[in-house]
């Protein structure tokens, strides 16, 4: 493999020993003296009025301290949910944010909606008593499809949102796109589903809240992506001042966007912790998770791509309908409007763009950001349209892309939807990938598969995404040099598996010239300004601040050393943790300088956005008798800027590719169309990808350093999803197209693929 990356760390990730030997500390590992246990009563129906909640028997159950219901949430005023979107939509109209009591009051809107909370001495007593809570419902008709929810006559979820429309957003130029499509020699049209998925981190959701009456502070121990974002949300919902909420977290077992929100359960626990004066602990079950942890994606998109006879792209118009579920989540409305719109032009120069994005309420679990947060969805739509157009116009799909790339000289490129892409080398990435994947000799491989009775398909996706969006204006990092020679680095960016301790540790260790073992990364323990980990932003943001803080430490150390060594600061040089005078042998170490009191420095900055991009070329083989698809080749060339640690970059890409493949080949949350019941409520029915799904992922780095941050890095956490989803779908369609199979939607399950093949065969007979 080409050595195109920066020097890398050859050892294991420094956090892995802790994480794989069971000594990590996750949400369920916080156990506080005197804690009580909460259990939630959840709706078993999709849409109903709550006629009454009778908790009399539950209250009498041994060990039960208190039963809270929606009426308690109303009384506390905990009804305004935090939603990050504040920008206006079409016609200047703002998003509608209906109230969401932290325990559902008067009405339930999805199966799993929490409507009461039992608090007891033990978890079993709480669960037993929860079963004794009698809820009388008046059933209402349910709607579980966003398109149907927006249709006239659909059941209405919130009186504040007529027609179930939460937000109507647009981007680009409607007139220009319309004209381009009307006049074009060729228009490719597709209607595509980006299926609803359950992110399913390995760690179950959990929270323990302690209220300290002495100073009126809530201590919230919870699985999160960052302490600041959690605190801000909890404060917004409860009106408790931010400085009276302390969020505690150490290790997080996966997140993928699902752990960014202040879920209603946590706020209900705050209510109880204060009233009962004891810590309140709740750990979700996997079944509860399926019915209450936010889902991802869930878009239905109609796309029209206009081209001239030579395959030049002229215009793109998208009608985007997103399923928000029963309530707005914190992030879903942004991840389904602004995020996809910012990269709506993909990697192509398209003169006219227009997208309309409508967010609908349905009787399902709320939808939030999920790895890539709208960008994979957009890449999927564009890349399927481009490959479909190539097939219709009989142009090689790589060639069609090549003809339409934003040319090198056009960077920084201002897109018609308001992004400014920093410099990339799209042609360079493509040519490298074509060679890497041996694109030209695919026909021979296809013939070989045919001989074995298999259908082989070749898929390509060339993608770009904007990363680095944050809720907070800057990222701060503090470094403390201790007398023992240790370097403690404080950040509020929270690793959920990304390996910050290794990456950030290497940045600081390399800048200071000290061994990695001397550097300790501490997340979320000091009140700094900064963003959570999400949107592929941490290395560009907090990582850059790490570097700046380390440089600052050297500067400050030089002044201190100058005093100690009795020379001018300009006469002090630094190398490998030691300050020495120019031209003499007198020296003092960083640890000695910190002898009496630690040296603290803080650095901050605003970094990004970055625009990671890449080309993933994949091949699949389909068994036409069963519809089973196997990925037989996966070749990825990624420009994620400078690489700090290649192993970590590979891990991020592998994980994201697997999540993308999971969505393409099996994952899908399914609700019953009539009853609104969740049909994929466990791993017996929800098809999580297994290791065998994705064979060896061949990777090459193609770094074009970013100019938007101190390290030259680009976000890599999500790009594997963004590229794998369209590439694999295009490979499947390429395998099926010769049989006359019309466009098929994900997930390409064996049954769906087999049906597509057999109906095409019947038609051709």
């Amino acid at each position: 493999m080409a050595d195109t990356h920066a020097p890398h760390h050859h050892g294991n990730r420094v956090e892995d020993r802790r994480l794989v030997t069971g000594t990590g500390k996750y949400a369920a590992d916080w156990s506080l003296p005197g804690q009580l246990y909460a259990c939630f009563v959840r709706s078993d129906r999709a849409h109903a009025e709550i006629v009454s909640v009778n908790a009399e028997q539950a209250r009498k159950y041994p060990g039960v301290k208190r039963v809270y219901t929606g009426e308690d949430a109303l009384a506390a005023g905990y009804t305004k949910y935090f939603v990050i979107v504040s920008y206006p939509g079409r016609g200047g109209k703002h998003i509608i944010k209906p109230p969401r009591p932290v325990l559902a009051a008067r009405k339930v809107r999805h199966v799993g909606d929490a409507l009461a909370m039992v608090v007891a001495d033990t978890a079993v007593a709480a669960q037993d008593a929860a079963e004794l809570v009698e809820v009388e419902y008046r059933d209402l008709p349910a709607v579980v499809s966003a398109e149907q929810a927006l249709a006239p006559g659909a059941p209405q979820l919130h009186e504040e949102a007529p027609g179930n429309l939460a937000f109507d957003f647009e981007s680009g130029n409607e007139e220009a796109a319309g004209a381009a499509i009307a006049q074009a020699a060729h228009v490719t049209r597709l209607k595509l589903e980006v299926s609803r998925v359950a992110p399913s981190p390995m760690e179950l959701r959990g929270c323990t809240v302690r209220y300290d009456a002495a100073d009126g502070t809530y201590h919230v121990h919870v699985c999160i992506q960052g302490i600041n974002m959690m605190r801000k949300q909890l404060a917004a919902i409860t009106d408790v001042p931010e400085d009276r909420i302390v969020v505690h977290a150490q290790d997080i077992g996966g997140s993928f966007g699902q752990r960014s929100a202040a879920y209603p359960e946590y706020v209900a626990q705050m209510m109880a912790a204060k009233e009962l004066g004891r810590p309140i602990r709740w750990i979700s079950t996997r079944a509860e998770g399926f019915a209450s942890d936010t889902h991802g994606r869930a878009n239905t998109v109609t796309g029209e791509l206009a081209l001239d006879r030579g395959g030049k792209l002229l215009g793109l118009r998208l009608d985007w309908i997103s399923d928000m579920g029963g309530y707005l989540s914190a992030t879903g409305s942004a991840s389904h409007t602004r995020n996809p719109s910012t990269c709506m032009t993909g990697v192509y120069r398209i003169p006219a763009l227009y997208g309309r994005f409508r967010l609908a309420f349905t009787n399902t679990v709320p939808v939030a950001a999920y790895r890539g947060a709208g960008r994979p969805d957009m890449a999927y739509v564009i890349e399927r349209l481009v490959s479909q157009a190539a097939a219709e116009l009989k142009i090689d799909p790589a060639e069609l892309r090549r003809r339409n790339f934003i040319p090198k000289e056009a960077f920084p490129y201002k897109t018609p939807t308001g992004s400014t892409y920093e410099a990339t080398d799209l042609h360079g990435v493509l040519e490298r990938a074509l060679k890497f994947a041996d694109w030209k000799s695919f026909p021979a491989r296809r013939r070989r598969s045919e001989k074995a009775g298999k259908l082989r398909g070749l898929g390509i996706a060339t993608v770009i995404e904007n990363t680095g969006a944050g809720l907070f204006p800057k990222d701060q990092v503090e470094i403390e040099a201790t007398s023992a020679g240790g370097i403690d680095v404080y950040t509020v960016s929270q690793s959920q598996g990304q390996g910050h301790e290794t990456s950030f540790g290497m940045i600081v260790a390399q800048t200071l010239g000290v061994p990695l073992e001397r550097v300790r990364i501490r997340q979320g323990v000091k009140p700094l300004i900064g963003n959570h980990t999400g949107g592929s932003r941490s290395t560009a943001g907090a990582g850059s601040a790490c570097k700046l803080a380390a440089l600052k430490l050297i500067q400050q150390g030089k002044s201190l050393a100058a005093e100690r060594l009795e020379v001018e600061p300009s006469q002090v040089e630094y190398a490998g943790g030691v300050f020495h005078t120019r031209g003499s042998k007198r020296k003092v170490t960083l640890g000695e300088l910190a002898g009496k009191k630690p040296i603290n420095v803080m650095a901050e900055g605003t970094f990004g956005p970055t625009f990671p991009n890449g080309c993933h070329i994949t091949e699949v083989e389909i068994d036409p008798a069963t519809g089973v698809t196997r990925i037989v080749a996966y070749n990825a060339v990624d420009d994620c800027g400078n690489v700090i640690n290649h192993t970590i970059v590979e891990g991020q890409v592998h994980g994201a590719v697997t999540q993308g493949a999971g969505q393409i080949f099996g994952e899908q949350v399914v609700y019953d169309r009539e009853t609104g019941q969740l049909l994929t409520g466990s791993f017996m029915d929800y098809c999580m990808p297994r290791a065998g799904l994705v064979p060896h992922v061949r990777m090459q780095d193609y770094p074009v350093p970013s100019v938007s941050n101190a390290l030259g890095v680009k976000g890599v956490g999500e790009s594997g999803c963004t590229a794998s989803i369209p590439s694999l779908a295009n490979a499947v369609m390429d395998a099926l197209r010769p049989l006359g199979v019309p466009p098929v939607d994900m997930p390409f399950t064996p049954a769906r693929v087999w049906h597509a093949i057999s109906s095409a065969k019947q038609k051709s007979q």
């Binding site: 008798a625 069963t626 099996g666 029915d685 929800y686 999580m688 049954a751 049906h755």
Partner: protein, 267 residues
């Protein structure tokens, strides 16, 4: 899980007596179906009577033209047993394809046969080979034993002690794994026995069944073409979000053909 009482039985006899005296008690062997059910509070037995590891349930032997497998044998043990591999390799292969390594090292043949999950693998072998289920009370022929969805001929308090398989001339099993659960969406066991060709299908219907049209077709010769035209009524097959009837019917035919190819030594 609801609170319950746990009893460790010292013998099958003791377990049977306990069950007779406590009608709401449940047997626990590997627990691979029972434990998840309990954890989700979908069952509320008064007692769990643990028979795992009882020596009288733990034997594998081939004698007198029969392979005897004790009810307490775990899937992994059957899959890796030299005796089973020699006597009925298809049975060892089937056991090795059940669930995942954790399940195979915990679940037992007796539990699988007693539970009769419509998508379980063992019922296909038991029916396909025309085995005999031996209980604490009697011997039951496979054809009489399986009675559809989680239903068997077992009476109250009756415990499966062992399964006796007559040795076939040849046998093969082919299974389409459920993409999420790993259970059989369709599994077909074909055996050439002294009494003729038997074809048992699991996963596709509400319970394991014999595909008689295929048996009749194959009686004239073990030819894949015979399966192509063998009648299979899709209307009685299972249909769910993963696989509708039509697809399942196709899978039954495809798995049957692949089992036949295995049987004939073709891969």
């Amino acid at each position: 899980m609801y609170a319950l009482n746990y009893v460790k039985a010292k013998s099958v006899q003791e377990a049977a007596e306990f069950l007779a005296a406590n009608p709401e008690a449940k047997l626990l062997a590997g627990g691979m179906t029972l434990l998840p059910t309990l954890k989700q509070r979908l069952a509320r037995p008064t007692h769990l009577v643990d028979i795992a590891g009882l020596p009288e349930l733990r034997r594998i032997e081939a004698k007198g033209g029969r392979l005897v497998v004790g009810a307490g044998m775990k899937h992994h043990e059957v899959a890796t047993s030299a005796v089973v591999k020699k006597a009925i390799p298809a049975l060892a292969g089937l056991a090795g394809e059940i669930g995942d390594p954790q399940v195979r090292n915990q679940g037992t043949i007796g539990g699988s046969v007693a539970n009769n999950d419509p998508a379980a693998d063992y019922p296909a072998a038991v029916l396909g080979l025309g085995a005999t289920v031996v209980t604490t009370k009697r011997e039951i022929a496979a054809d009489d034993y399986f009675q559809g969805l989680f239903t068997t001929a077992l009476g109250e308090g009756e415990i499966v002690v062992r399964v006796e398989f007559p040795l076939p001339k040849k046998a093969a099993y082919c299974k389409f794994h459920h993409p999420a659960s790993g259970y059989a969406v369709a599994g077909v066991f074909i055996a050439q026995t002294a009494g003729g060709v038997r074809v048992a299908v699991t996963g596709a219907g509400p319970g394991v069944f014999r595909w008689s049209a295929a048996e009749a077709a194959l009686a004239k010769g073990l030819k894949p073409a015979a399966l192509e035209s063998a009648k299979l009524d899709a209307s009685g097959l299972n249909s769910d979000i993963h696989a509708d009837r039509e697809y399942r019917a196709n899978l039954v035919r495809v798995m049957a053909k692949r089992a036949l190819a295995k049987l004939s030594g073709k891969k």
